[in-house]
Amino acid sequence: MRIKLKVNGKTVEAEVAPRISLADFLRDTLRLTGTHLGCEHGVCGACTVIVDGAAVRACLMLAVQAHGEQIVTVEGLSNDDALSPLQACFRKHHALQCGFCTPGMITTAHALLTEEPDADADRVREVLSGNICRCTGYIPIIEAVLEARAHYADQDAPP
């Protein structure tokens, strides 16, 4: 099937088999390997991307379902050589160790703070409880996201 969609601001057209997941399409066809696969059954959140502003598990979505949509992956959330404010907060708080869950945490947190820049700690924990991290124990991730709120507070829709 032929699909046409926007990924990180660029228009993409491709022929995809119906069975291919959005995650596999992003990783294998577009070579955007920042989106990771940890379970392929929608539990771990490592594959989270942003579809029309909403955090979505790319392993549970088919590529053909993304036709006409706007997708943002972790690669689309930072500039060429710099970290975004959210990413810088992660680094500052040592909110990553092996780095495998990190893209999913970043996209999920970004989608949350874009919608709810005043989310409190309980809300942040609630939303991030859909993303598994085995290394950090989550504490520094929550701290990083809470500090990042200030950067979302007086913004219009960030990129």
């Binding site: 955007l32 390997t33 696969l37 940890g38 392929e40 680094r91």
Partner: protein
């Protein structure tokens, strides 16, 4: 100090093995047994082979005779050899998930479709899934061997028989720790490439112990080690489980050589849950002996570890540790503990963070609280009283037999950290809540003390090169598993070279980097890799002084080096980058075989809702001494991560089998790991109080410790909370159904 690694990980620019793609690569999928125990009558591969796009279907008969087996990496003992796993099943299958065949196809989708066309005729045999049946031996997994008992370890010290006979207080209990696992987030995988002309194999996806694995792979494939390069890319967690040699470590390279095409394999999560090493399943029948006023006289009893169907690279480390480290940080003079390693029809078990130690501490800390209750003594005082004192160090632990192995606690002020933990935790205030019903929940607190063995030998290699641009390249045999190796080793190198951090680049883990390496396990990377870097830096600086001396026309002893220049006696100086046209390098091996023992205490406050059975962990506070801290942030990160894994083990995680040896917990919806909302308050401190005398850094391995006491402390806190109900937890996890059952 922020980590070097973070920049790429945060931007999605990490390169994990699933991100590696080679031109012309094929894709492999493994067909696995759906039966826990049986005789293989036939494996039908014809239909799969006939599918368009399928390039090969490999079974055991394609692997030559004898079918290669996974060797024992740690402790290659004769007793364990009969239980080694063949790279592909033949004759019998012994656990659900055991590999039967490798399908290689043009795409992962075709390979997965071909799985459905593989037929396995397996004549089922009774599945052995518990201790009773394993020991009874009516059905054995290895008929030639004739028994399901692999080995029995005994830890002995003093005269336990006499101590128990004369003790005023004795209590015996049976404890069970459940099967659970490391569950690292990045699935395992490999990309293998065979160059037929150069006769060279390149393997991406190496981790943990690449050099050892290369040796194993070379032997299995009939190659020289020099013909194999193992490349460690980014690694998504290990915790002791990733990086051990699994069948796929051989099967994927074998397929690549067979087909003369690159082959890529990435496991899925269900596969992971049934093939990556399981851990911890142990039953212990242990008694404690003490004086009437609470001085512990002895520990004795038996444990049984459920090893699963095969003994793989980790040998018998975890079962042995259960016996050897049950005394922990306490002065216990009379010990007679045994652990038996049992073979069952389950996924093989291996090391997982604090192997055997988490289990042993659960038992010991529970017994200490029971003892305190029985004797009417304060559980903090009883611990303080029995901790090993600084002036007793080095303190010998029980000797393990067979293969006489002895170790000593190296040093430390255990009491001081107990006191600091009590203070950090706020024990004096929180104890007022102990056992009380507040807002519908019962509150309880507990504290435990622990040691963490680290710094395993025998050695580690490092090589440092001063490049022509004045930067330093540091190569070390330690492996990255997510712990921040690039940053930590750069810090150690920077100190040793007196060079700024940003002029140092660290390469690690891959076999092309250093002559030999022993990898990352048993909390050894900082101690062993770091010490090797210290030695290599010394050698390099000696070399630089010699080169500078010739250029400056003086003696090497007259040269002083700082971060960028070499200065001679007459005020002449040279930039280091100008010392020589070619890079200058030095290599060193650090050899050490004395283990280090980080130590500390951990306290927890829980609130139990008896209606739902839910245990809320309100607060955890821990403190640990590692002798010398290199990077406080990464070390603290290890502590918090370890505690949360421990809480998962204490309350949530459980690999469950049914009577037929079927794994019932095959997805992350069934195997519950902690999520962000579970344990919001973890306060962890790491200190550098008393350096270890056992290495040039004075450091103690610190990547595992805090997981060790968690099971025991949580169980004790629950017991304290539910004292009114007479609840005494003897089994983990303390899930809601178990809490209900305990309340009765």
């Amino acid at each position: 100090m922020e980590r070097v690694e973070d920049f790429r990980f945060l931007r999605g620019d990490g390169r994990f093995v699933a991100d590696v793609n080679l031109e012309g690569q094929l894709h492999a999928v493994i067909a696995r047994s759906a039966v826990a125990h049986g005789r293989i009558r036939a494996i039908h591969t014809g239909d799969a082979r006939a599918m368009a796009g399928v390039r090969a279907v490999i079974t055991a008969r394609d692997l030559g005779r004898p079918v290669p087996v996974i060797p024992l990496r740690l402790q290659p003992l004769a007793e364990l050899a009969p239980f080694r796993q063949p790279m592909l099943a033949h004759g019998k299958v012994r656990f659900v998930g055991e590999p039967l065949a490798v399908i290689v196809a043009d795409s992962p989708q075709i390979a997965e479709d071909a799985l459905d066309r593989i037929g396995a005729d397996i004549e089922p045999l009774p599945a052995i899934v518990d201790r009773e049946h394993a020991e009874a031996g009516e059905t054995v997994l290895f008929e030639d061997h004739g028994s399901n008992v692999a080995i029995r370890w005994t830890a002995v010290r003093g005269d336990a028989g006499r101590a128990f006979a004369n003790a005023q207080y004795v209590r015996k209990e049976t404890f069970r720790i459940q099967r659970h696992a490391a569950l690292f987030l990045e699935p395992r995988g490999f990309v293998a490439q065979w160059d037929g002309r150069a006769r060279k194999l390149t393997l991406w996806g190496a981790a943990k112990v690449a050099f050892a694995n290369r040796k194993i792979l070379a032997a299995a494939m009939g190659l020289a080690e020099q013909q194999i390069e193992m490349i460690e890319v980014d690694v998504g967690g290990g915790f002791g489980s990733r990086g051990e040699f699994y069948p796929e470590d051989f099967l994927i390279p074998f397929a690549a050589r067979l087909l003369n095409r690159p082959v890529k394999w990435i496991e899925d999560r269900r596969e992971h849950l049934m093939t990556a090493n399981h851990a911890r399943e142990t039953e212990c029948e242990i008694e404690i002996a003490a004086t009437g006023d609470g001085r512990i006289l002895g520990l004795r009893g038996r444990s049984w570890s459920d090893n699963g169907a095969y003994i793989r690279t980790n040998g018998s480390v975890a079962p042995r540790n259960v016996a050897q480290f049950m005394s922990g940080p306490y002065h216990i003079e009379n010990i007679a503990l045994s652990t038996t390693q049992l073979i069952t029809n389950k996924t093989p078990a291996g090391t997982y963070r604090g192997p055997g130690r988490f289990e042993a501490d659960f038992v010991r800390e529970r017994l200490i609280d029971l003892m305190a209750k029985d004797l009417g003594l304060d559980r903090v005082e009883i611990r303080r009283r029995n901790l090993v004192r600084e002036n007793q160090m080095p303190y010998p632990l029980a000797t393990i037999t067979p293969y006489e192995s002895a170790t000593e606690l190296d040093g430390g002020d255990y009491r001081q950290l107990l006191d600091r933990c009590l203070e950090d935790f706020g024990w004096a205030e929180k104890v007022k809540l102990d056992g009380r019903l507040i807002d519908g929940r019962y509150h309880g607190i507990a504290i435990g003390c622990f040691i963490e063995g680290g710094g395993a030998g025998p050695s580690e290699d490092a090589r440092i090169v001063l490049e022509s641009d004045g930067t330093y390249s540091v190569y070390v045999g330690s492996a990255a598993v997510g712990q921040g190796i690039e940053t930590i080793m750069a810090q150690i190198a920077g100190d040793a070279l007196e060079a700024p951090f940003d002029r140092i680049r660290v390469r690690h883990g891959s076999t092309g980097d250093v002559a030999q390496g022993h990898g990352s396990y048993h909390s050894r990377a900082t101690v062993m890799g770091g010490s090797a870097i210290v030695l290599a830096a010394e050698k390099l600086r000696d070399k630089l002084r010699e080169v500078a001396a010739r250029a400056l026309g003086c003696e090497p002893g007259e040269v002083t080096l700082d971060s960028g220049t070499a200065k001679g006696p007459a005020g002449k100086s040279l930039a280091l980058s100008e010392l020589s046209e070619a890079p200058v390098e030095a290599e060193a091996t650090y050899r050490g075989d004395k283990h280090t023992y980080a130590y500390g205490s951990l306290a927890a406050h829980v609130a139990v809702d008896v209606k739902t059975g839910h245990v809320e962990v309100i607060d955890v506070a821990s403190i640990k001494d590692v002798g010398r801290i290199i990077n406080p942030a990464t070390l603290h990160g290890q502590a918090v991560g370890a505690i949360v894994q421990g809480l998962g083990g204490a309350l949530l995680e459980h690999l469950v089998y049914d009577g037929d040896g079927q794994l019932l917990t095959g997805t992350l919806a069934d195997y519950m790991v902690p999520s962000a909302g579970c344990f919001p308050v973890i306060r962890s401190t790491v200190v550098e109080l008393i350096p270890s005398p056992n290495n040039p850094l004075g450091a103690k391995g610190g990547g595992e410790g805090e997981i060790i006491p968690v099971g025991g402390v949580i169980a004790n806190a629950v017991a304290a909370a539910l004292a009114d109900f007479g609840v005494e937890p003897m089994e983990l996890p303390l899930s809601p159904p178990r809490i209900w059952a305990l309340i009765g």
